[in-house]
């Protein structure tokens, strides 16, 4: 089987268009995961036991169930009780909630790495818990874990093909559909592989820059 450039040029625009869907779902899901994950991590770090336990159970439950099942439930089971969410919103919600639990672990590591002395200094200066988090602890906890969060961004990119379950066609599904139609998988799959590489490298670079920018000011 040879590699046909003409054919590649033919499928490229189709896949490029579908890649916008990939990007939308990934970035939307990641934004949600980053914010919700931070919230979960902070709630879990509080001394108030019921909240801590509830958050831990939630995280454990979400992480132990495949994303596929969560997507399915959100899109096909929730309408049974009258809750109808559009496909893309479901996709972003499921990706976001699922990965927020992973992000929470990452943030937790960041929080753990803030020396106890920083908390104690904040207490000795009489900061409220809220100020301690927002002004003292998070500005130190978040920048070092930005690269680890970036890894999940890349993982999420690669996870998006699963959204076909709920009728969202991103670039990988598009490539496989084209392949099914023509029985030439090599070119479309190659295009998608290259796009994945491109996205991953771009976001890795972006994340590194962002992380450097966050810390750079006080290295």
């Amino acid at each position: 089987m040879t590699f046909e450039w003409d054919y590649l040029m033919e499928v490229l625009p189709l896949i490029a268009q579908a890649s916008l869907v990939t990007i939308e779902a990934t970035l939307g899901g990641f934004a949600l995961a980053a914010v919700l994950g931070l919230l979960l991590a902070v709630l879990r770090s509080l001394r108030f036991a019921p909240v801590r336990v509830a958050v831990s159970v939630f995280i454990e439950a979400v992480r132990s169930t495949p994303l596929l099942i969560q997507l399915f439930a959100l899109y096909y089971i929730l309408p049974g009780i009258g809750i109808i969410i559009p496909a893309m919103a479901c996709g972003i919600l499921a990706l976001g909630v699922h990965y927020s639990c992973y992000c929470a672990e990452v943030y937790r590591a960041g929080l753990d790495n803030v020396p106890r002395g920083q908390w104690e200094a904040a207490t000795s200066l009489n900061f409220t818990t809220y100020d301690t988090f927002t002004r003292i602890v998070l500005p130190q906890a978040v920048p070092p874990v930005v690269p680890a969060l970036g890894n999940y961004l890349i993982t999420m990119f690669k996870e998006t093909p699963i959204l076909l379950t709920i009728s969202i066609i991103e670039m990988m599904s598009r490539a496989l559909i084209i392949g099914k139609d023509t029985f030439r998988y090599t070119e479309p799959v190659t295009v998608v592989g290259v796009l994945f590489l491109l996205f991953s490298l771009t976001s890795a670079w972006g994340v590194r820059r962002f992380g450097a920018w966050l810390t750079g000011r006080w290295g």
Binding site: Q118, A121, T123, S124, L125, T128, R135, I136, W218
Partner: protein, 258 residues
């Protein structure tokens, strides 16, 4: 005069380990007290309890005639203190740590202005103005925009002192504030503390191993051993004529090592 700090049979345990054992300790307003003693004897714990960084397991601590960690209920009995009450008591006390614990993401000025803005509710201008004054007082007028990582240990510790003072405490706690410093810069930090002691009406409680400085600085020295005060009194009494055997042994080891 009423003591400003009063430990009344205070006990502190970590698991099975009793770190403070029914400790009594009174400090008068404006008094300068040094705490010396072997490692693990509970010196740091005394300061951490005052700063409410740890909970006590028995006894009462009064600060400024108010019980801390317990608060008077409407009926007159003492109940466990809530966060709001603790914050009010805590406002009277400032603490300087062995490892400075400066906020690495803020400049010297930011370190000193942040708490006054957030906690005391000062305007940004006023807080910054006062922070700059305090930094000048500790001899760092030219470093106010430096980040901690750009400062030497001695400079960082002086920022930490200014940061505590910015909260206008009545009581200052110092926990081995020079033991993480290069020998050549220890002097500059002690100098700042010395001038604070003479120029301000502050009650000061200092854990230190600088025997020479303790002698010159303090009104009283407490020698701690195994979670109790083994011996206390005027510096010359304790340092030159220790009666307790453990004190003698400790001073011999420390003075011998120089």
């Amino acid at each position: 005069m009423e003591p400003i700090i009063k430990f009344d049979k205070v006990t502190k345990r970590y698991g099975d380990l009793t770190v403070l054992d029914r400790l009594d300790l009174d400090v008068a307003p404006n008094e300068k007290v040094s705490i010396i003693g072997p490692s693990g004897s509970g010196k740091t714990t005394v300061l951490r309890l005052l700063m409410t960084l740890e909970k006590i397991d028995g006894g009462v601590i009064h600060v400024d005639n108010e019980p801390m960690t317990h608060m008077p209920s409407p009926g007159g009995t003492l109940v466990a203190a809530n966060e709001a009450y603790l914050r009010r008591v805590r406002g009277k006390i400032g603490m300087v740590f062995q490892h400075f614990n400066l906020f690495p993401h803020m400049t010297a000025l930011g370190n000193c202005a942040e708490a006054p803005i957030r906690v005391l509710g000062l305007s940004k201008d006023e807080a910054t103005g006062r922070a700059a004054e305090l930094l000048e007082m500790v001899g760092l007028a030219d470093k106010i925009n430096h980040y901690p990582s750009q400062l030497s240990g001695g400079q960082q510790q002086r920022v930490a002192i200014a940061r505590s003072l910015a909260m206008r405490p009545k009581i200052m706690l110092f926990d081995e504030v020079t033991s993480a410093l290069d020998p050549e810069v220890i002097g500059e930090v002690l100098e700042v503390i010395r001038s604070l002691a003479t120029e301000h009406n502050l009650t000061m409680l200092m854990v230190t191993h600088q025997i020479g400085f303790a002698r010159e600085f303090s009104d009283r020295i407490c020698f701690f051993s195994d979670g109790r005060i083994a011996e206390q009194g005027a510096p010359c009494e304790i340092l030159d004529n220790p009666r307790n055997e453990r004190t003698q042994q400790f001073l011999r080891a420390v003075l011998h090592a120089t």
